[in-house]
């Protein structure tokens, strides 16, 4: 079996961190690599670590192993080596529970081996450093008693994310969900799907709901309603399944594109009426007076999204002609156009989303007849085009600031796809036609 390993010198030496606590302490000093130390020119954005995940015994062991393998694969930072259950047993130097036969994994070019053992209340995980020939990290993870439920799957995703952190210093993003709109017209509904495409549910949305946005805690969604049912901003509590209207638009006004501020205390939104659209901020209490942030004078300003430090806001506006991206301070001052724009061109740029690490803003731009996904540094500069096949729109960053979920017609109908902005690997997230307006949650703790 051929094993793909990039780079010449991916030799492992001893892990610096023997416990998760030590790994966290080390993370604070160096952001490049942690847990297992690699010798050679390892580039975490290009080079993948070869990992073998051993078979897991006990109830749901096969599912558990498959989910962890897929989570690590979907993080695009690991190459999962196909190791059959029998191989793992053969790899042991002795009976069950004894150490691994590291030389076999060296021949497979595995850098790390993940060994998971079912426990009464969850799983015990050991991370083996193959080059060093020893366990470099262990942890116990609680799992719900009932296997394969939505909650159980999310607990396994959190385990995967922690294992990824042991190996790279950066937590994975598997324990996340994506809210999106499926269908159109009166049949449109907000749905929530796990980052691996499993566990989909439908949110009991009020009629004509659109533009779902996650609260930073992952416990609440906001969305707006439009049309003849009246325009409102609705908050949906995921734990209680209760909806409440945060604010109802007066007659002749539509509230659109709600987004939470990073501190979770306010919502930014656009108020679209007879004098154009302007961006406002309102607290979540329900009796807060909205604060107006832009003065469009008839132009349309919409789609506000905060920088992760909450100090700036990127939004789309057409005051200079076709829709462009602008960045302003959180109080509405010092607005500057972010995207380069020639007055004569008809470029249409919209749907910005600020990466959680603050570096990049993803957006959509008309390239020829179709929208394509681009990123631009938050400080401006030359944009980078990430897509070219079909119509690609509505990017939303994963919490790792590396993956984007977006809407694409590349399969023939609108579906959500996930793109790794480092390797350009794509995967289709949804399979139900008419999926759009994906919003990626923060890492979920419940």
């Amino acid at each position: 079996m051929k094993v793909f390993v990039r780079g010449a010198g991916l030799t492992l030496v001893a892990g610096l961190a023997l416990t998760a606590g030590a790994a966290r302490a080390a993370l604070a000093q160096d952001t490049t690599f942690r847990g297992i130390t690699l010798i050679g020119n390892y580039d975490p954005t290009r080079d993948k670590i070869s990992v073998a995940v051993l078979a897991v015994s006990g109830a749901f062991g096969d599912s558990l192993r498959a989910i962890v393998q897929r989570d690590l694969d979907f993080s695009d930072r690991f190459t999962i080596l196909p190791v059959e259950g029998g191989d793992a047993d053969a790899a042991r130097t002795g009976g069950a529970g004894s150490g691994l036969n590291y030389s076999i994994f060296k021949q497979l070019n595995a850098a790390a081996v993940i060994q998971m053992t079912s426990m009464p209340t969850g799983i015990h995980v050991a991370l083996h450093d193959v080059a060093k020939g020893q366990v470099v990290n262990v942890g116990d993870f609680a799992l719900p008693a009932t296997g394969l439920t939505r909650e159980w799957r999310m607990a396994v995703h959190r385990t995967s994310d922690e294992i990824a952190r042991w190996m790279t210093g950066q937590r994975g993003m598997a324990a996340t969900r994506i809210a999106y709109i499926r269908g159109s017209g009166k049949a449109a509904a907000i749905r929530i799907i796990d980052s691996d495409g499993a566990g989909e549910i439908t949110v009991p949305t009020d009629e004509n709901g659109i533009s779902p946005a996650w609260h930073p805690s992952g416990t609440m969604l906001a969305y707006s309603t439009y049309g003849d049912v009246g325009s409102r901003i609705v908050l949906f509590d995921l734990a209680t399944a209760n909806s409440r209207t945060l604010t109802k638009a007066p007659i002749n006004v539509q509230y659109i594109t709600p987004n939470f501020t990073p501190d979770g205390t306010s919502i930014l939104y656009a108020r679209s009426g007879e004098n154009g659209s302007d961006i406002y901020a309102v607290g979540l209490s329900g009796n807060d007076t909205p604060r107006r942030l832009t003065v469009g004078r008839g132009a349309e300003n919409a789609s506000p999204t905060s920088s992760p430090d909450g100090r700036r806001i990127v939004y789309v506006g057409n005051a200079e002609g076709s829709p462009q991206l602008y960045v302003m301070d959180a109080d509405g001052t010092d607005a500057r156009r972010l995207t380069e724009y020639d007055f004569s061109d008809k470029n249409y740029r919209s749907d910005p989303d600020w990466s959680p690490d603050g570096r990049l803003i993803a957006y959509q731009e008309k390239i020829g007849p179709n929208f394509q996904i681009r990123t631009i540094r938050a400080t401006g500069g030359a944009p980078k085009q990430l897509t070219s096949e079909g119509v690609n729109e509505q990017p939303s960053w994963a919490p790792d600031s590396r993956h984007l979920v977006f809407t694409s017609t590349r399969s023939g109908v609108r579906q959500l796809w996930v793109l790794d902005t480092e390797t350009f690997r794509m995967r289709q997230l949804t399979t139900s036609a008419g999926a759009r307006l994906g919003a990626w949650s923060a890492r979920l703790t419940q």
Binding site: S211, D228, N252, G276, S277, E300, A302, P323, D351, L437
Partner: protein
């Protein structure tokens, strides 16, 4: 092309209103035949016969008048209903827009001009203007563009004397396409403002 067809349709509607008006007038009743005075030996019987003939003629005339008048009333009611329907059609006729624009084109101003006298003649009528877009822009930004189109229509009607409070604006963005499809023909049909009568009498009064 579409605009031309719309104008033609509107003109046809107005013409039919005019024709209906002409039919409203009840045709004049036939006068009873004049009875000539009788003379001679059989004057009495002849006079009686003449009187009888005159009476029957008068009765026939009255019956004809009654029948004509009933038919005229029914026709008038039909005509009134179709006139009201024509007014309703004119009041709810859509206007269309160019790509990414909310400016009113001349042919669409004519469609709005036809609504103004109807709204003026029916001062309790309230309408809702819904702005729509084609699917080519941003799903979310199109909600703002739809609102701008509805607002543009409302501003025109208000400029022409219709009270602000009688026109409500909403937006559907690209969420309610009139035509499916991904060609300019479908896009053109979808870039529109629709009108719904949300208040006022069932039967509209003629301007």
């Amino acid at each position: 092309m579409n605009a031309t067809r719309r104008i033609t349709g509107l003109t046809a509607a107005l013409v039919s209103v005019t024709l209906v008006d002409a039919c409203h007038k009840t045709p004049p009743a036939q006068p009873a035949p004049a009875v000539a005075p009788a003379a001679g030996p059989n004057a009495d019987s002849a006079r009686r016969a003449q009187e009888e003939a005159a009476r029957r003629a008068a009765e026939d005339a009255a019956r004809r008048r009654a029948a004509d008048s009933a038919a005229a009333a029914a026709a008038a009611a039909r005509d009134a209903a179709s006139a009201a329907e024509a007014l309703r059609t004119a009041l709810t006729a859509m206007v269309h827009f160019d790509y990414d624009q909310s400016d009113l084109r001349p042919e669409d101003r004519a469609i709005l001009d036809a609504k103004v006298p109807i709204l003026t003649a029916n001062p309790t009528v309230v309408i809702q203007v819904a702005g729509h877009t084609d699917e080519r822009g941003s799903d979310e930004y199109n909600l703002a563009l739809g609102q701008r189109r509805a607002s543009s229509v409302k501003a025109y009607l208000v400029q022409h004397g219709i009270a602000d409070s009688r026109i409500q604006t909403i937006s559907y963005g690209e969420e309610r396409p009139m035509a499916q499809g991904t060609d300019e023909s479908a896009y053109q049909q979808n870039r529109r403002a629709e009108f719904v009568i949300t208040g006022g009498p069932q039967t509209l009064r003629k301007p």
